[in-house]
Amino acid sequence: MTAGGGHHPAEPTEVERRVAAIESLLVEKGLITSDMVDAVVETYEHDVGPLNGARVVARAWVDDAYRARLLADGTAAVGELGFGGAEGEHLAVLENTPAVHNVVVCTLCSCYPWPVLGLPPRWYKSFAYRSRMVREPRAVLAELGTVLPGDVEVAVWDSSAEVRYLVLPLRPAGSEGLAEDELVPLVTRDHMIGVAR
């Protein structure tokens, strides 16, 4: 994406105009350069996304020692694969089991483990998700297409302080013969937030 290069099917909105005005003023004053902004946009549009997390999960599925390190110190183990940084400084990994299903929300804001999942989707940031997931997780999961058996315990994590959470999903039945690289595409963002099982 280049700066403001998108087409505008409708009139620019007030917020769009204000953001453009701020960028123009900062650039014209020489306080920032366009390539600084571009670098961030490029990073989250192309480099940092749920594929990072999927690689972490696939490694944990095939490598028990890695899995143990991941659960003991998420940040360090994720760092072994080259991932880390803003909003992932303090990562903790929540292991799903046949008995327990973990799901993550941030009621106060929309905190999210950027280095392994990228930037959050709209529904994660929605007031509906933020308000409801802590009170009626099964109802919200069902709306998102995930109906959990009654004997699975739901554990909700509200990432209210410094730690960001990543769910380690169950390895799918029937995937025993697959190699690490073949497992990666089976892992979705929704698995790692916990809204898919």
């Binding site: 350069t33 902004v37 989250y44 400084e89 994590w157």
Partner: protein
């Protein structure tokens, strides 16, 4: 502050609707606002945290804005608070200007690298070692409070008892500098929402000052 952002448990916000194949940024300006926030931070133009500025939005404006719309508010508020820009000059530019931002001819390889460094900075799962009044397994009760300042103790856990499941280490409370212990505390859903709540548990991370 116990503001509009503290919405855990509230009714009235409707269904959760996912959009398959959603782009990272729905509009170019959303990407620019994230980029501007990081770039302005890397250039030292905005000290302090994003969240207090978002939380102090007028509540009606908070609810009317999108997520990146709230970032845009915080970006502007931060730049105005430091005197980097004035509301007048932004208003003037909005009234007369092009919605396509000016592109700089200059580049900043060093600052771009600094941004890369910021975005890739390694960290640690736990904060620094610090004295902790509670231990794993302890029953704790969240204090009643009504703090004016930025905090991370949602209203829905106030007065509720839970169990410490992890002593996470020490971090400074927002707005402070000395580390203080953070605990992961697990609550039974029924203790939060009543006897007819869904079964299950809810965990969150609470600074020691929130607990008794």
């Amino acid at each position: 502050m116990d503001g509009i952002h503290d919405m855990g448990g509230m009714h009235g916000f409707g269904a959760v609707v996912a959009q398959p194949g959603e782009p990272v940024f729905h509009e170019p300006w959303e990407g620019r606002v994230v980029g501007l926030m990081v770039a302005a931070g890397a250039a030292g133009l905005i000290p302090g945290s994003l969240r207090p500025r978002i939380e102090s939005m007028d509540p009606a404006a908070y609810l009317a804005a999108s997520y990146y719309g709230r970032w845009a508010h915080a970006l502007e508020a931060g730049l105005v608070a430091t005197g980097t820009l004035t509301v007048d000059e932004i208003d003037t530019r909005v009234a007369g200007g092009d919605p396509v931002p000016t592109r700089s001819s200059a580049t900043s390889p060093a600052l771009v690298a600094a941004i890369g460094g910021f975005l890739d900075a390694p960290g640690a799962t736990s904060g620094v070692p610090v004295a902790a009044a509670f231990a794993v397994g302890d029953r704790v009760t969240v204090r009643r409070m009504a703090p004016e300042g930025h905090h991370r103790c949602p209203r829905y856990v106030r007065g509720v008892a839970g169990t410490v499941t992890r002593v996470a280490g020490g971090w400074p409370h927002p707005g402070e500098h000395e580390p203080e212990a953070i605990y992961t505390v697990r609550f039974a859903m029924a203790d939060l929402w009543g006897a007819d709540a869904e079964p299950g548990s809810l965990a969150l991370d609470l600074w020691e000052r929130y607990l008794a």
